[in-house]
């Protein structure tokens, strides 16, 4: 319906009032789910609509609280002084209490004298200070529930007086507001209980997850009451370990379940944990079970209450019986191996001593025979005797080499800085002294150092350079070289000669014990030397390999460290 200008002011006000009620009611409905906002909307919309100052007071039990206020006044006008959300006893809220008890107060023209006895002097002063001209106080009530009080304060002399229409509109709005507040409260309560229920559900879920975790931990988990040291909790692994059900365990103490000395030990550790209020680790403790004595590694932890006092004791026990047995077996095996090693050592000792003694007799008496009775033998007889001596000495050499091989295998590896170049010069000097007539070109790269066992390295170089010396004995232009080179991406030392060489087809046999690639008559030797060198490189976690050609010499490469160390 358009405003055609013919309508009277009253009709216009009625029309405005209707529109206002409908708009404000709509706004109330839309804010039902936001309770604090709703109260603001009520105060604000009513104040702007009337337009007046609107104060919303809510009742809860025997207190009343100012929850929202809106002052629709020009800038510079005096303002109310108030504290939001503070509850006051209802009996001190004179006028509000009166309205709650008796119904609306409608005072188009403020009458301070009439009000003096009905409200506090402070409240009255406030009304005066803000130029109050009229007052309308209505209860917020719905469905028989008194929710609060709505104050409409008309201020300033330029405003018309409050009239019956205002009263009706405000009462109508108050009814709608009350309904909205009630709904909002219901909604809030519903939401709250919904939240509570969800939280409860989550708590139940969390607790059942915890239960499942504790229950399924494969170690025994138990909880004791700190005061009585009786069991209040046991998990499945604990039941299985002890062979008792939860019902048989809970409420019992260690003394009810275990032999006295064992229980006393457990209890001592419990008290230690509780009095120190820190974890106590028991690396090994025996426990009697239906399966016999089991060994546990137990950790005991105090569970503190809010005041920091130990209320419970948590215990976690890991069954280490199998591990303990394995360790015992391992140590038995180790000591057996040590025994075997000692036996081997004593065997080697016997070999050294006992086998050489008869050899010495064979050699010595053959020599005595040659010296004392040589003239009675012909040259063939003397040759036989010399063969006997050669064989005895060769066997002595074999025994010595085998002993060296065994020592190389048994001895402890002690790494230190070894000057390979200097060592090689010493070895060559010894070889040269034994055969001063030989002319051999020696090339030793300077500054070759390695972190290795000096004794074993000496044996290795003795063998490698000794071989090179031996296998070049038939060369007029003999040459022996010690150097360092990269082979297959690995830096390796090498001993190279231009001697008899070997066929690569047999290279795998080179490093076997008693393996020889040349007849004894051509190049003497026991066939143990290279096996010994291979064992030495192996002890150093290194490698040895060879390249060669028959008649064109041989090169032996060796490393005395693990490959990764060498490229590092």
């Amino acid at each position: 319906m358009a405003d055609d200008g013919t309508s009277t002011p009253l009709v216009k006000r009625l029309r405005d009032g209707l529109r206002l009620v409908s708009t404000v009611t709509q706004a109330f409905a839309e804010t039902t789910s936001d309770y604090p906002r709703l109260l603001e909307v009520i105060a604000c919309d009513i104040a702007e609509a009337i337009p007046d100052t609107c104060v919303v007071n809510l009742v809860s039990g025997d207190t009343i609280t100012l929850v929202a206020i809106h002052e629709a006044v020009p800038e510079g006008a005096p303002r109310l002084r108030y504290v939001l959300d503070q509850a006051y006893p209802l009996r001190m809220a004179g006028l509000s209490a009166e309205v709650l008890a008796r119904g609306p107060l409608f005072m188009p023209r403020i009458d301070f004298d009439a009000l003096r006895a009905r409200m506090s002097p402070e409240a009255l002063d406030q009304l005066r200070r803000i130029d109050t001209t009229g007052l309308l106080v209505v209860p917020l009530a719905t469905r028989g529930e008194l929710l609060g009080v709505l104050w409409i304060i008309r201020r300033g002399n330029h405003q018309p007086l409050l009239d019956e229409l205002d009263l009706e509109i405000v009462q109508d709005l108050a009814n709608h507001a009350a309904l909205a507040i009630l709904n909002a409260r219901l909604f809030q309560r519903l939401e709250h209980s919904e939240r509570l229920r969800a939280a409860e559900e989550r708590a139940v879920q969390a607790s059942s997850l915890l239960d499942a975790i504790v229950e399924n931990i494969p170690d025994m988990v138990f909880v004791k009451d700190a005061a009585t040291l009786s069991f209040v909790r046991f998990n499945r692994a604990g039941e299985q370990l002890l062979g008792l059900s939860r019902d048989q365990l809970l409420g019992k103490t260690d003394f009810d379940l275990f032999p006295a000395s064992e229980a006393a030990f457990f209890t001592t550790k419990d008290r230690e944990t509780l009095s120190a209020t820190r974890m106590v680790d028991i690396p090994e403790e025996p426990i009697q079970t239906p399966r016999g004595t089991r060994w546990l590694h137990t950790k005991k932890v105090p569970l503190l209450d809010a005041t920091g006092r130990a209320a419970y004791l948590l215990g976690i026990s890991h069954d280490i019986t199998e591990r303990k047995l394995a360790i015992a077996e391992l140590s038995a095996a180790k000591s057996a191996a040590e025994d075997a090693n000692r036996e081997l050592e004593s065997f080697s000792y016997s070999v050294a001593h006992d086998l050489r003694t008869p050899l010495r007799a064979i050699d010595g008496f053959s020599q005595a025979l040659t010296e004392d009775y040589g003239e009675q033998l012909d040259s063939e007889g003397r040759r036989y005797l010399s063969r006997v001596r050669q064989s005895a000495q060769r066997m002595a050499g074999l025994i010595d080499d085998l002993l060296t091989l065994s020592r190389v295998t048994r001895s402890e590896l002690r790494r230190t800085r070894v000057d390979l170049s200097a060592l090689a010069h010493t070895v060559i000097a010894t070889l040269q002294r034994l055969e001063p007539e030989r002319r051999v070109e020696i090339v030793i790269a300077p500054g070759l150092v390695v972190d290795a066992d000096p004794q074993l390295t000496t044996i290795a170089l003795d063998n490698l350079l000794g071989n090179a010396w031996k296998f070049t004995s038939k060369r007029s232009n003999a040459r022996i070289e010690l150097g360092q080179a990269e082979r297959n991406g690995v830096p390796a030392f090498f001993v190279r000669d231009n001697g008899a060489g070997f066929d690569m087809a047999y290279r795998d046999k080179l490093f076997g014990v008693f393996q020889r690639l040349h007849p004894e008559s051509e190049f003497p030797g026991t066939g143990i030397g290279l096996a010994t060198v291979a064992r030495i490189t192996q002890r150093h976690r290194g490698r040895i390999w060879a390249e060669g050609r028959p008649g064109a010499g041989a090169t032996f490469y060796f490393t005395l460290m693990e490959y990764p160390c060498m490229i590092a």
């Binding site: 006992d354 003694t357 007799a361």
Partner: protein
């Protein structure tokens, strides 16, 4: 006049004979006293049992001591000799088949003056004995007894 003797502690008859032969071939003319086990050796040194009447004129120039001996081990003989005031300064050469590190270390540790491994090659053996004799009987100045 002192009778400067060499004492050979050796249980093996072959080794004994070869050692004596080596002395002869090296022109060592000192008398060689042979004792054939550790217990006999101790009796000899401390003038006990069969050796109770050993003459005071007998001066021990050097002892050649094998390690592997019946009854009392060579190292135990060495220990006893070094522990006794009367014998602790006698030159003792360990003459044995073994060249095990542990025997060397224990031998020297107990106060042996020298350690010689018997070579299998008899010529080398003679050579070793000759050098031993030369050193301990001629060159070395023994402590006064």
């Amino acid at each position: 006049m002192h009778d400067r003797v060499i004492v050979l502690v050796e249980d093996n008859a072959n080794d004994e004979e070869l050692t004596l032969r080596a002395f002869r071939k090296s022109n060592i003319l000192n008398r060689v006293v042979v004792v054939r086990d550790g217990a006999e050796a101790l009796d000899y040194f401390f003038r006990r049992g069969a050796y109770a009447a050993r003459p005071a004129s007998e001066v021990i120039q050097v002892v050649l001591l094998d390690l592997k001996l019946p009854k009392v081990d060579g190292l135990d003989v060495l220990r006893s000799l070094r522990a006794d005031e009367r014998t602790r300064l006698i030159p003792i050469v360990i003459l044995t088949s073994s060249a095990e590190d542990q025997d060397l270390v224990r031998g020297y540790g107990l106060g042996a003056n020298s350690y010689v491994r018997k070579p299998v090659d008899f010529n080398q053996f003679v050579d070793a004995v000759r050098q031993l004799g030369l050193y301990w009987l001629v060159i070395n100045q023994a402590a006064p007894v």
